[in-house]
Amino acid sequence: MSVSVNYTQSPEGIIAGPVNEENFFEWEALIMGPEGTCFEGGVFPARLTFPTDYPLGPPKMKFTCEIFHPNIYPDGRVCISILHAPGDDPMGYETSAERWSPVQSVEKILLSVVSMLAEPNDESAANVDAAKTWRDDRKKFEDIAERTVKKSLGL
């Protein structure tokens, strides 16, 4: 039940906190594109929705901006294994060892997302177009990423 609010200790490049004081089950996060990647410089807003049984169940994360990435569904939902409850396996490849467990904190989730931005996993694509572009036409992928970065900054 208790979601720890930790504004101060959030890792570099990440800001996260509840949307408002009334509902601690909705968080908003701002994630900066990791340096040295094609997402560098971008600031991507996302929304974290915690289930009532958190931390027994995983939260959901959804980018509220446009982002073209193999592991992010076109509608912005993030697809990483630690956010999947052990029961469901949308991609059919994950072992239960890499699934959600109460040990995962918001911080760890966000860090995983940052590393996912840096290193897309095209083996289990949520956005097949993005995965194909990433694999076959890296130049085009970078162009699109640059565009999303600019868009995220409102340019």
């Binding site: 208790s2 509902n23 289930p51 009532t52 931390p55 027994l56 052990p86 467990s101 109460p102 040990v103």
Partner: protein
């Protein structure tokens, strides 16, 4: 905006059509007749009716829900698609009954279904919504009341209409509404649970348990309803294709609920009984924040076998979802059982006895880890099986054995009580007694000498009194695997015994034909094997090798009985005897049945008699050598 335009357009169209009809006919009844006869006007009127339904839905939504949340809307649309598809499928089944009334009934059903889903979502939202106003309670309660009443009314209606008019499409409605009724009940139970939870400041730990059980019970009802529906539909109409998907889903969720309940119960029971409470020192030693609730652990904590410590209540709710350690994901159901020696000191040999894995790669090495061979010292009397532990005089076998054997000669195993397993297989021995010639003698002695070289059985713990009930239970094992393994062993043993009997018989036949004193070899092995009172009984039997076969049926048994008595009283680790005398006490033991006994060919018809003879001879020699060494060991033991 667009929908408002469409609605306005529909109203205008209807007004035009009705106005036109009235303008043409100028009277009420003719214009109504005109409207119903004209297909285009009817189409427009149906459209208008549909618009009314939607408007009605909006009104109800306003009353009962207010603004819908995005997630609720999403769910609604997603489920509506399936429901519409299934309704269309249902239309194909009932195409003969197709009429506007029929369509209207289905629309109503869909309409009510939508509200059931919304109610479900709303009550789920209750749990996470920060403030629950009075309005919310009023809305939810009135909605549940209205939906429950409507469902009941329609179930009732369908029931009576089916009774009066026979099976019709009302059957489908009846079942649909019955299933919706279970959904309403589920929503109501959830509502009550959440309300109770909200009353108190602290989270209510047992809520999840109640939810799980409610889900299980209502899921069961649903499955029963669907199956009944399916059966009736197949009998009355045809295969109800439209019910397949919801039926599958409800079955799956029921299975999942059942699985969850069973696994979580097992894990929680494990937690309560097997895992130690964390001591204050352990809590002090490390980071004492429970990883699940991120609060400090002061009391009521459990330590898992992987040494991770959590709040008991947190662990319980986690085990309801998953049966692993939250930190290292070690499977709590597969965890090796904690060494019971932690609590009660046990003798050192006991530790070796702890079965590492109940799975046995093959029969004999597996027996090292087999707990069942450790006999509890006082064998409780076991029903009709003749108890063997009181040392009976050598010449008088237990009372039930001779009748069993006598009957076995006539009708093997037909009406006889389950034979004492230690005796081997009476039907076989009886048939052999009938088939074998006068040279048939003393099969058991050679049989046991045949068995002993394999006997790598573990030594039972010497002082059973030192073991606690728990340890004994651990050694015995209760899981299905253990029981299955045990039965398998017993079957293996039986097969070996039967095989030995066949060999003995062959040998004796050969010995009789070649006039080699077949008893001689067997006799030595026997005397080597058990030097005490057993050999005393062996001697007379062997010397009276030319007795009639009826006597032989009795004699070997008595010898075997006495032998096992002496052996068990000596507490030797002669495993076969141990095993045999323990069989009747073993959990999962089934008395040998006839179908397990391999058919044997009459050795006299055997073609390779000479070869067999040689092999047999060599074997016996080797066994007698082995027995010598065993005898030495026994002597050593006795010396101790």
């Amino acid at each position: 905006m667009r929908s408002a335009l469409l609605i306005a357009f529909s109203f205008v169209l209807t007004a035009v059509v009705v106005g036109n009809a009235y303008y043409q006919k100028e009277q009420f009844y003719p214009s109504v007749v005109y409207l119903t006869k004209s297909n285009p006007s009817m189409a427009i009127l149906y459209l208008q009716a549909f618009v009314f339904v939607i408007l009605m839905g909006k009104l109800m939504r306003k009353i009962f829900f207010g603004q819908l949340r995005a997630a609720e809307m999403e769910h609604l649309i997603e489920r509506s698609w399936y429901a519409v598809t299934e309704t269309c499928l249902a239309f194909t089944v009932f195409r003969d009954d197709f009429s506007p009334k029929f369509v209207a009934l289905f629309t109503l059903l869909l309409f009510l279904k939508c509200f059931h889903w919304l109610a479900e979502d709303r009550v789920d939202y209750m749990e996470r919504s920060p403030v629950i106003s009075l309005l919310f309670h009023v809305r939810v309660l009135s909605l549940i009341g209205v939906l429950g009443f409507l469902d009941l009314y329609y179930v009732n209606h369908a029931y009576y209409s089916t009774l009066l008019k026979g099976a019709s499409v009302q059957l489908v409605f009846g079942f649909e509404y019955a299933i919706l009724l279970t959904a309403v009940m589920m929503v109501f139970v959830k509502y009550v649970l959440h309300s109770v939870d909200l009353q108190s400041d602290n989270p209510w730990e047992n809520k999840a348990v109640y939810l799980l059980y409610t889900e299980l019970i209502l899921g069961f009802f649903k499955v029963v309803l669907y199956v009944t529906f399916m059966v009736i539909m197949i009998k009355v109409h045809t295969f109800p294709l439209f019910a397949i998907r919801p039926m599958y889903l409800s079955m799956r969720s029921f299975k999942k609920a059942l699985h969850d309940v069973i696994m979580s119960r097992r894990a929680i029971r494990n937690m309560n009984t097997l895992y130690p409470d964390a001591t204050p020192e352990e809590l002090q030693a490390g980071d004492n924040v429970c990883i699940i609730c991120r609060e400090e652990m002061v009391s009521q904590c459990k330590k898992l076998l992987c040494n991770h410590i959590f709040h008991t209540s947190c662990l319980r709710s986690w085990f309801q979802r998953q049966q692993t350690c939250p930190t290292c994901r070690m499977d709590v159901l597969r965890m090796p059982r904690p060494q019971t020696t932690q609590q009660t000191p046990a003798p050192p040999p006991q530790q070796n006895q702890q079965p590492a894995q109940p799975q046995m790669p093959n029969m004999f090495p597996g027996m090292y880890g087999m707990p069942m061979w450790a006999p509890p010292p006082p064998l409780p009397p076991r029903g009709e099986v003749p108890p063997r532990e009181p040392p009976t005089p050598p010449q008088s076998p237990p009372s039930t054995t001779p009748p069993a054997q006598g009957q076995a000669a006539g009708a093997p195993g037909a009406s006889a009580p389950p034979p004492p397993p230690g005796v081997g297989s009476p039907p076989l021995s009886a048939s052999m007694a009938a088939g074998a010639s006068a040279a048939y003698a003393n099969p058991y002695s050679s049989m046991f000498s045949y068995m002993t070289p394999f006997a790598g059985f573990p030594q039972p713990p010497q002082n059973m009194q030192g073991l606690s009930e728990e340890e004994l239970a651990t050694m015995e094992g209760r899981e299905r695997q253990n029981v299955e393994a045990r039965i398998q062993w017993l079957r293996d043993i039986q097969a070996l015994l039967d095989g030995a009997m066949v060999l003995i018989n062959q040998y004796n036949t050969v010995a009789a034909q070649t006039s080699i004193p077949g008893i001689a070899v067997a006799q030595t092995t026997q005397s080597n094997y058990s030097p005490s009172s057993a050999s005393n009984t062996t001697q007379p039997t062997n010397s009276n090798a030319d007795k009639t076969s009826s006597q032989y049926k009795e004699k070997p048994i008595s010898k075997e009985e006495t032998k096992s008595n002496t052996l068990s009283s000596e507490q030797t680790n002669s495993s076969v005897d141990e095993g045999l005398s323990e069989l009747d006490g073993a959990v999962g033991y089934t008395p040998p049945k006839e179908e397990f006994i391999p058919e044997w060919d009459d050795p006299r018809n055997e073609e390779h008699q000479d070869e067999l003879h040689k092999i047999r001879h060599r074997r016996l020699q080797r066994f007698s050598e082995d027995n010598n060494s065993i005898k030495k060991e026994e002597d050593d033991l006795e010396m101790d």
